[in-house]
């Protein structure tokens, strides 16, 4: 996948793997994710398996390229109404969520619950690219590693790719083969297998 914006960002993601993106708050990481999801005005060439973004309808593109914002909102009357296929009890259990949580009114969700259910909500659309904006920021260490492995398993089983924004170098080292750092809207390779075209 190629992407050109601001100072022409060039980035490639591979199936089954995550690429991490580190950087100060305000360096434009979230903007980059929103631009890739085509939620904000942007110019550039994006390709997914050889198909350009423009050959997808906007809805198709956003279903294929799932975006998990840092702060997750809920708008329907119940949590479950946000899902197309309700998540399995096993998945919920794994993230330490009770089955009834699907019937809850969203306003009673804690920050951590919002985030965990948000991950399930994004995976529910079965995207083949994940754009993750600090997906474990509001989770404690134990549940955070569960969420990490849930996402990594999804990537592997679905041959999906991920661009993973994080603050934690340790997390970047755990989940990604390659890590970039973003400084003032410029992307540079920070570690991993070396740059590629």
């Amino acid at each position: 996948m190629q992407f050109l914006e601001w100072s022409a960002i060039d980035l490639e993601l591979e199936a089954g793997r995550a690429v991490c993106l580190l950087g100060e708050s305000g360096s434009g990481k979230s903007l980059l994710l929103r631009a890739i999801a085509d939620l904000i005005l942007n110019e550039g060439v994006l390709e997914l398996n050889g198909r350009t973004r423009e050959s997808f309808s906007p809805q198709e593109w956003r279903r294929t390229v799932g975006y998990l914002p840092a702060e997750i909102f809920w708008w329907e009357a119940s949590v479950g109404a946000h899902f197309e296929r309700l998540p399995m009890e096993a998945e919920l259990k794994r993230l330490r969520l009770p089955l009834e949580s699907l019937e809850w009114v969203p306003s009673r969700l804690s920050m951590g619950e919002r985030q965990r259910l948000g991950i399930l909500r994004m995976l529910d659309r079965q995207p083949s690219v994940l754009l993750l904006d600090e997906p474990t920021a509001n989770l404690d260490d134990g549940i955070s590693s569960v969420a990490e492995s849930l996402i990594l398993e999804y990537l592997e089983s679905r041959e999906a790719a991920a661009l993973w924004v994080t603050h934690s170098k340790a997390q970047a080292a755990r989940v990604a083969k390659r890590t970039y750092r973003m400084l003032d809207k410029v992307l540079e390779l920070a570690g991993g297998e070396g740059a590629e075209g």
Partner: protein, 266 residues
Amino acid sequence: MTAAIDLNYWDIAFAASIVLGLGVLLAYYRLGVTRSLVVASIRLVIQLQAIGYVLKFLFAEGRLVYVAIMATLMLLVASREIMVRQKLRLKGWASFGVGASTLFVSSFAVALFGLLVVVKPEPWYLPQYAIPLLGMIMSNTMSGVSLSMDRLTSALRDNRAIIEQRLALGQSSRESIQPYLRDCIRTGIMPVVNSMATAGIVSLPGMMTGQILAGADPTEAVKYQIIIWFFIAAGVGFGMATALRLLEMRLFDDRQRLRLDRLVGE
């Protein structure tokens, strides 16, 4: 038919004195609306005096071209009014254009329908019928449209993050703003629905009252009032549908991105 009692300028001056009293009271409590009240009262007197002469001229001439000029002027003023009532408005001429095209397709169409199909004056553009009919439909449409447009732009700005997340899950632009659209249409149409529901019980609508004062048979006057309300409801409803559709088209681009950057204000 008995003619209405003629009012002289003293009568108007007596009526104005009550408003003057109100102005003094408001000034005493420093509510700060005295100025607006005085300006509005003076505008009322001048504008209505002027329109009195304009209508007299129009009725005497009775030519289509004058009626058309008058209708165009009304359209321009109403479009400007819709524009200035928006807290957030579209950049450039689009803001004026949405109001003008909305009023054109709704108010003009409904007024034409009323003249050609229902009332059928001879000729169809007879200014005594055409101008008041268009005026009543347009002023109500103007209120409904400006209210609902204002509501929609504020709702989209306040809920930008939610709308973006709905889009991110693969919803269409329409789906992502559906609840706000519904709310705006309700807001715009409710005043009309409420007025229709209480007409005759709580309020005697202005037009009917006028006809009765002019000596018309009340049972005839109500018939006019009924069709006027139907026209107003249609004008407001179709007007809002058009306005919100046009607004939606401007606020989302071809890739269904929410484009709040196309709004200015506040």
